[in-house]
Amino acid sequence: MLTQEEIYQKVREVLVDALAVDEEEVKPEATLVGDLGAESIDFLDIVFKLEKTFNIKIPRGELFPEDILTNPEYVKDGKFTEAGLAELRKRMPFAELDQFARNPLVQDFANLLTVRDMCRFVELKLQQQEGQASA
């Protein structure tokens, strides 16, 4: 199992490669969209590169559960409902949602993920994979 530092370094390499940013810009707290300029198509590239780098499988909607956005139970008047936030917490255990939950506007959802979240996502995937392998 890779250490957190090793995961961080590899995630960093993936982001530098996929987003053509300088290594110094890829800090744990940097947001992918706002700080690193990721566009929607870049997420596809990032997912492919994470899969290859870490030898994991990332099904659609796992990193970014977009289906929540179109569910009226979860989103009302451009804001996540309590049920929506609960669903987000369940589906995105790797993401830091506390600050977002204070004013959970849908328009800010795309800019939620940070480099740290990506590292946690990979860490969880690797743990899951290891659990499956030893089960």
């Binding site: 596809l44 590239d45 492919f48």
Partner: protein
Amino acid sequence: MRWYWIDRFIEFHSGRMARAIKNVSLAEEYLHDHFPGYPVMPNSLVIEGVAQTGGLLVGEYNQFRLKVVLAKVPHAKFYCEAVPGDVLTYTATIEHIHPHGAVVKATSHKGEILQAEMELVFAHLGEDFNDRELFDPGTLTHMMRILRAYEVGKAADGSPLKEPPEETA
């Protein structure tokens, strides 16, 4: 399909690698204006040809059932110009294939000389695009035929590459 930027396949290994050639000819109109008196093939058209080589490789892997589009060119580096009389050899290798698309690494050579290298990301369009026709049925198989992919192609098990029974993309 009327936007051919490769002339024929010389190798086609299903799901793995394809190699195609492009003859750069002064008979091609774009060279008359790019640039007047100094004909150079635009790098964007080299990318297009490489993307056709890689795109057909990715599409064939799924028997052309999924709609494949070029989504992103993360890297492209050009080392020299392509000019009339050059024969470019494009080699596209699938690096990673995923239900949502694929990553292809590719090169363009002029004989032994590396002319360009690049990485391409292809996306499989999702269900949202199911009602939209990008190509008429059979177009991609027809393109593969014209480019002689079925003459040189090999399936994953090494047997001769066969046309898919029905193309729906």
